[in-house]
Amino acid sequence: MIEVRDLRVRYGTRTVAHVPELDVGAGECVAVVGESGSGKSTTLMALLGLTEGAEVSGYVRVCGVDVLTAPARRLREIRGARVALVMQSPEAALSPTTRLGVLMRRALVLHGVDAGERAMAEAVEAVLLDPAILRRYPHEVSGGQAQRFAIALALALGAEVVLADEPTSALDVTVQAEVVGVLRRLRAERGLALLLVSHDLALVSTIADRVLVMKDGEVVESGPAARVLAEPSHPYTRELLEALP
């Protein structure tokens, strides 16, 4: 579903992200870990072709579309409909003047997907939300509910790939567990390909198959999650692991 070779994102002369190789197949979960400013989120945005002002080179193929050469219209077609982004601040990612149901209906209509009440209710029920949430404004729901709504939106659109940018960092511990549970279940049931960006190694260890560790824009270590987290070969990975509470 995601195939990346020698991806470089530069602002001026500065390379902010360099990923030599990254593959995520259906039903797989790959985590990109590292501290703030290590290039994780930039890598995610590059996969969506949304790195404005940056010079991007390499080869990026997402859902069969060559992101770096595809026309803007083709990219808009896959954004949301096939590749969904779950953002760090779930409430901030929802327009404050729009009810959740209106937001979902507009997105479904935009991509030509069934926008009926039943379909929308099923999507939110799949992430264990009460369909009454569709009548609410973003400020009327909790962070966990907003995050699950974002996942429901991805499901309703039929996304095959979910890019999750620190999906639990803005949530409290119990809500984190809810969201991780939903992601894990959907991955197993629907074969979602999940690319998770996080600095939370505890979360990564519970869900990821493979891990890429980034520092200062470069991938310093990668491999199966169990191996990287149990026997890190790079000093930076060891540092991250030692920083775990």
Binding site: L48, L50, L75, R76, E77, I78, R79, G80, A81, A84, L85, M87, Q88, S89, A92, A93, L94, S95, P96, T97, T98, R106, A107, L110, H111, E125, L128, L129, D130, P131, A132, I133, R135, R136, Y137, H139, E140, V141, S142, Q145, A150, L153, L157
Partner: protein, 283 residues
């Protein structure tokens, strides 16, 4: 599968703010009195009566008479037509132009923003009255000229305000989220940037209503806007100011009409702000 109940109770905006309702009611009242002026006014419009020049308020003339002996109440009722037309036309035209250009500039940024903002600066660089004078020379003095002249000098302020708000809104995560959903740029602007940028502009528009009436009065005073025999509140204030210390009613009643109308627009603006912001709960 168990669906989890919603944990937080829904908070809906409550009743419409009472003061905003008062504002709306006052505007409706002023508008109705202007529309129904031929039926409500005790005298014919522009009927000079030199024998009753500068008569104080009385049973025959509730608001007194002006220098020409015209009934001030009648002139105020008819003048409301002109003044409200100018206010509504100026604020509508200037806010539509200003907000459209401002939001596009704020969202697009870069060269688009630079071009739009420099055009805005050119309009702002001209003194408003000088620009109005130039327009009046081209178009000839009339109420329409006043509307065009004021709107031409008013929209850049809305453009600047809208541009700064839209530039800030454009960086919010929900705008990024919309783009990540594949929403085309025009729809992002229309559905996310515009609604979330409108509140400060609407409040400003409502606050400007009084200023527009007074600017129209200044233009009329210079012979560029409404001219005799057209009744207009600002013109009445300008004409009556000489007599303020000796014949207070000539200037006070049209002044009060401006004050009440401007106040009503301010209250309505506050109500609109509340209505457009679902996070605000009105007790």
């Amino acid at each position: 599968m168990t669906v989890l109940p919603l944990s937080r109770p829904v908070r809906r905006p409550g009743r419409v703010d009472r003061l905003a309702m008062l504002g709306g009611a006052l505007i409706v009242l002023v508008a109705l009195s202007a529309v129904l002026a031929p039926w409500l006014a005790p005298y014919e419009e522009n009927t000079p009566d030199p024998l009753h020049s500068l008569d104080p308020p009385s049973g025959a003339h509730w608001f007194g008479t002006d220098l020409a002996g015209r009934d001030v109440l009648t002139q105020i009722l008819y003048g409301g037509r002109t003044s409200l037309t100018i206010v509504v036309a100026v604020l509508t035209v200037s806010s539509v132009i200003g907000v459209t250009l401002g939001v596009v500039a704020g969202y697009a940024g870069g060269p688009v923003r630079d071009v739009i903002m420099r055009i805005t600066d050119v309009f702002l660089a001209f003194p408003a009255l000088l620009l109005s004078l130039a327009l009046a020379v081209v178009l000839g003095p009339s109420v329409t000229t006043a509307i065009v002249a004021i709107a031409a000098t008013w929209w850049p302020w809305y453009a600047r305000l809208a541009a700064s708000v839209a530039a800030s809104v454009a960086t919010r995560p929900y705008v990024d989220a919309a783009r990540c959903l594949g929403v085309p740029a025009p729809l992002v602007v229309l559905r996310h940037v515009l609604p979330n940028s409108l509140t400060p502009v609407l409040v400003q528009v409502s606050l400007d209503a009084g200023g527009v009436i007074l600017t129209a009065a200044a233009l009329s005073y210079l012979g560029l806007g409404a001219r005799e025999p057209v009744a207009e509140w600002g013109l009445m204030v300008q004409q009556g100011q000489t007599y303020f210390t000796t014949n207070w009613w000539v200037v006070t009643f049209p002044g009060l009409a401006i004050l009440v109308t401007a106040f009503a627009f301010n209250l309505l603006g506050e109500g609109l702000r509340a209505a457009l912001d679902p996070r605000r709960v009105i007790k």
